[in-house]
Chain length 267, copies 2
């Protein structure tokens, strides 16, 4: 049985993973994705495999804390790069609608046409306003190297809480040093982004985004005190530690039992 | 200080890793690499990070056994795909010269012009004969799905030992089922390739290839009995187990100490 929009056989054990890869390679053609974005995706795949390819209890606690932080923010901004747009433009736009957070395109590689391609994808997904495109990215953050430093004065520049899915370490560190609350989504709990962010969701963006949207919808009716309570009981260190422990234990268990069937005659 | 042929600052902590990425993205343009090859490279990077980015004692034992197996073979073949050619065409050609193994291009994605681009890269690196290109890949291995099944009658089809760097699981399994000795290079000790191969070098190809060449040069002077002795004392299960244990312990140690400096005020 073939899925309607890809060439992947649904019965293939890695069908979902292959479909996501096809979506990303497609978006190299649309300019949304830089080639380096494919390599970054591969790194994520490896860590997701170790994580067990499911949202963990620690991941879920980080998602809840992230929803509370965005709802409590004065001026929250969702930063969007090529991989995030290619993988889940709809859920990102939905999160912005639910929370009132602004959307801003922010790229490591600002190649001609890329920002515009990402903006188009977000608008197709229902976005009314997209910051950070072209001349709009006129403010410079000296704490950050790379093209990432150019931001929109109406967006990241003045934000108190920034959601940065699939981020590079330099930028996360820079934003945190500026005193901003940074929410990251990163499958590698050892990365600089994961370690420096205020709230680190160690999960696959494709799984985490819909959960983040539904948490925001749920928490929206709570008063500020309840949201502050959720945030103050959250420990990012614990969440990172638990995520690493899960990977370590899974690696141990897979190593013990052998991943595949015994092969005759193998030493 | 900038390196002469890339844009990477030598002082960047990940300069070597970034240089390798640039080499691979360059070879998307030359058609040598398929886009899926970039994602695969990213997965390797993640496992290499867990391995400690150095050749382990287990990796070295596998390299020695691989050199002995190739030297003992009646008809050894080095299978070359896009990633392997892009990363180390020179060392692969050198290994073929030292051991007398034939070179064959074998691809998962046979796109127009790709085989020829890889052949050109191998010839530039000094190869005299390159099998498996175009109509030469006329024999069909029914054990394998994908374009990989088409092989050269003078090469993989009749080989007793096949060296398959950066391989897919289906093919490794197919070749092993056909009774061939398969030597794989794979940074993920849990992959189907790693688990099914006769000898699995869990190491970065860029580090392993020069070591494999020098081991072959060293062992070449030994007699067959000595080489058989090296092979018979080798256990791939042990090597895989040790590689997993190293990753597990490293993950544990990094998790214990926290990877980066303590950040003030972090919970």
């Amino acid at each position: 049985m073939m899925s309607s929009d890809t060439h992947v056989d649904d019965r293939h054990p890695r069908a979902e993973s292959i479909r996501i890869r096809e979506k990303l390679t497609h978006h190299v053609g649309t300019k949304v994705l830089a080639l380096a974005g494919l390599i970054a995706h591969g790194r994520g795949e490896a860590f997701d495999y170790l994580l067990g390819e499911e949202t963990t209890p620690a991941g879920m606690r980080a998602i809840t804390a992230a929803a509370a932080a965005i709802l409590l923010a004065e001026h929250p901004v969702l930063s969007v790069n090529g991989n995030a747009a290619a993988l889940c433009a709809e859920a990102i736009v939905r999160l912005s609608q639910v929370t009132g957070a602004k959307l801003e395109v922010n790229l490591y590689h600002r190649q001609p046409g890329r920002e515009e391609a990402i903006e188009a994808l977000l608008r197709e997904a229902g976005a009314r306003e997209v910051l950070g495109v072209g001349a709009a990215a006129s403010a410079r953050l000296d704490e950050i190297n790379s093209d990432r430093r150019m931001v929109d004065p109406r967006g990241i520049y003045s934000a108190d809480v920034v959601f940065v899915p699939l981020e590079d370490g330099d930028r996360t560190e820079g934003l945190v040093k500026m005193g901003k609350t940074v929410i990251a989504v990163d499958l590698n709990p050892l990365s600089r982004t994961a370690q420096y962010a205020t709230i680190t969701i160690v999960d696959n963006l494709v799984r985490a985004m819909p959960l983040l949207v539904s948490e925001a919808e749920k928490l929206k009716s709570l008063d500020k005190d309840a949201l502050h309570g959720t945030l103050s009981s959250y420990s990012n260190r614990e969440v990172l530690g638990e995520s690493m422990r899960i990977m370590e234990e899974r690696l141990h268990a897979l190593g013990e039992k052998g991943v595949y069937l015994e092969i005759d005659g193998k030493k």
